[in-house]
Symmetry: C2
Subunit: 384 residues, 2 copies
């Protein structure tokens, strides 16, 4: 398969965009990516989206996006894998170019959540859990994560406050990101005093929903002009697990994350220690901890230790959520994976103003669907 | 890219399967295909589905299917492009194998529609239309097709009765298909007397919804045992159009069908006249007529003429809906494209008992999403 480069990126701010429709959001990000890439005809389009059928009464976003951005008649479909839909779409675009099927592919993640009734959105989010075996018993998606967090605290002896640094770091970084939903820092005191949502998850443990879109253009590496930053897809891998958490042998271990990152590391020919920046899926602080562990950055149960030591800060050993993460940049579910990838590209280009990691070579983005049931990992590499 | 063969197929009957869940339906078809293919580990799974989020409160069918059929940790996503989701999933599986990404890929289309409230299903079907510009004005999906049919009748001088043969042929063929929802013939008199749903579309112009799943296993051609029927993907192409019908220059011409079939013909190195069997997308009789025209089998406005001449029957020039089509086999929307492909494989293998076309070499399946906004065309070829 051919080597693939990311040549253009675009994003809207994650926000309550009540004045912009689904197609306008997707179009804004996609056209920005296309303009930056300076490409003519897009040959394949993959749209990552989780809940447009429920939240926006709109299906076939493939056709919707293709038409809106002036690419009518292009091959275009929607890819859905709950909250990992965005990076699943990127993976399809990568495969389309790597295989030789297309020379220019667009991946765009889009979600519009804030002008639907919140009960509808809670229901739509619950489609990421198992309808027959979890939701049917009354579990919402946050409740599922609360159960995991409670078990984790019991098993490893942590308290709620031990997760504060994940949120504080994310918010500190988002201050510098004009596309973040919450561009403000939070203190430990604010974390402690924040409202309990679903014990032990408080408001500061949880990422906010939002409206937004992010996009990237992928081309074969030989199409890149020599003066451009050469940012290639060094590893791409996806793995599934049971949707129901109770079906897993180890409910505190993200097996699909481990499987997909190991495969991505192998493709890139590197190890955990070579990753310079990691955009992880901190939908809840417990997911931040579990991600650090499953991908080899911390021992089981030691995710919070890494955070407390400052290792996850921009100047730490493994900078995470460098543009705010899901916690502060925001989590427009089906778009999130594309935001992560766009942010890794910004880091590798040296465009992460205010939170730039010094001269990163490898950046990893990992996007989690469900409570760990569909996980997509990408490693991008700057080659010049 | 590598040449790809279809090595195993499976399907459930299209029916009101109130005793089977979404995963059971998908699993039944997928495991049958896998058993027939006699393959070990599936490397990629693509699930075509339109409305599980709305109708079944279940997202990420990729993970759901992978786990249920014993392929936990496999790379698996859901593909959605409204009613063409099934063949869009097949196209992804084809690309995965053709590119060298996977040696064994599974495509499965599944939909479960009959134990949801019918108002919910009508709403879910309307997500195939444009939420902002069509549905917002009160149009349901059948109403949209009724407008197209009315215009077609006005433009070319046809009456409602002139569409009868499309339905009569489909039902006549379904008598021989144990997987069809309606395994009974209808007469012209029954067509004339059938209930008007949305003028000029009567009950016999419209395909029934249903629950069902169909699946196929794809492998590189060199993996095929020499004694097996060598059925290869000779052409695969998808094209989009505007979702809103009023945005098209020619509302009576399926431009995306023309574009995708022309590309598929070119890939296969053949012309319209070489197609021996055509599984078309007769969601409504008007779509049957428009499909025959856009793909070169009839002149504009002459689709009904072809039907009246008997050319669409099993012994005619261009046999269509040979296992009942959407009209009588049934239309479990996101699964339909996979049923079409499974039926083409049956024809090429000589397994279409009761409606076998004599020694077909090329079979075409065309799946339409929306009112022509996302169209996927495949040409399969029997090579031995």
């Amino acid at each position: 398969m051919r080597e693939v480069a990311v040549v253009g990126i675009g994003q809207t701010r994650v926000y309550e965009h009540w004045d912009k429709s689904l197609r306008e959001l997707a179009g804004e990000a996609a056209l920005e990516a296309k303009a930056e890439a300076q490409v003519a005809n897009i040959e394949s389009i993959y749209v990552g989206n989780m809940m447009s059928g429920v939240a926006n009464q709109q299906g076939q976003l493939g056709a919707m996006v293709a038409d809106w951005i002036g690419e009518r008649f292009t091959d275009s479909v929607k890819i859905e894998s709950a909250c990992s839909s965005g990076s699943a779409a990127f993976r399809m675009a990568y495969l389309a170019v790597a295989s030789g099927q297309s020379d220019i592919a667009l991946a765009v993640g889009v979600e519009k959540m804030t002008d639907s009734p919140s009960s509808e959105i809670t229901g739509a989010l619950a489609t990421a859990a198992d309808a027959d075996w979890e939701v049917d018993h009354g579990l919402s998606f946050v409740a599922l994560n609360a159960l995991i967090m409670k078990r984790y605290m019991h098993e490893y002896g942590w308290q709620g406050i031990d997760f504060a640094e994940f949120a504080i770091n994310a918010h500190a970084n988002a201050v510098h990101n004009p596309f973040a939903r919450f561009q403000k820092a939070i203190s430990e005191e604010q974390f402690i005093k924040s409202t309990m949502i679903c014990d032990p998850i408080n408001l500061m443990d949880a990422s906010p929903i939002g409206d937004g879109a992010a996009a990237a253009i992928l081309v074969p590496v030989e199409m890149l002009a020599p003066n451009l930053p050469r940012i290639v897809v060094a590893g791409s891998s996806a793995a599934t697990d049971t949707i129901s958490v109770h079906d897993r042998k180890q409910p505190l271990w993200l097996s699909a994350a481990e499987k997909s990152s190991k495969s991505a590391y192998a493709q890139a020919g590197i190890g955990t220690e070579d990753i310079d920046v990691f955009e992880y899926h901190d939908a809840f602080t417990i997911m931040a901890a579990l991600s650090l562990e499953a991908n080899g950055f911390a021992q089981p149960g030691k995710g919070p230790t890494l955070a407390k030591e400052g290792a996850i800060r921009v100047d730490g050993k493994i900078p995470v959520a460098t543009r705010g993460g899901l916690k502060a940049r925001g989590h427009p579910v089906g778009a999130t994976g594309m935001y992560q990838l766009v942010e890794v590209v910004q880091q590798l280009r040296g465009q992460a103003i205010g939170t730039q990691v010094p001269h990163p070579e490898f950046g990893m983005a990992q996007n989690i669907g469900g409570s760990g049931s569909n996980i997509v990992t990408h490693i991008l590499k700057r080659e010049n």
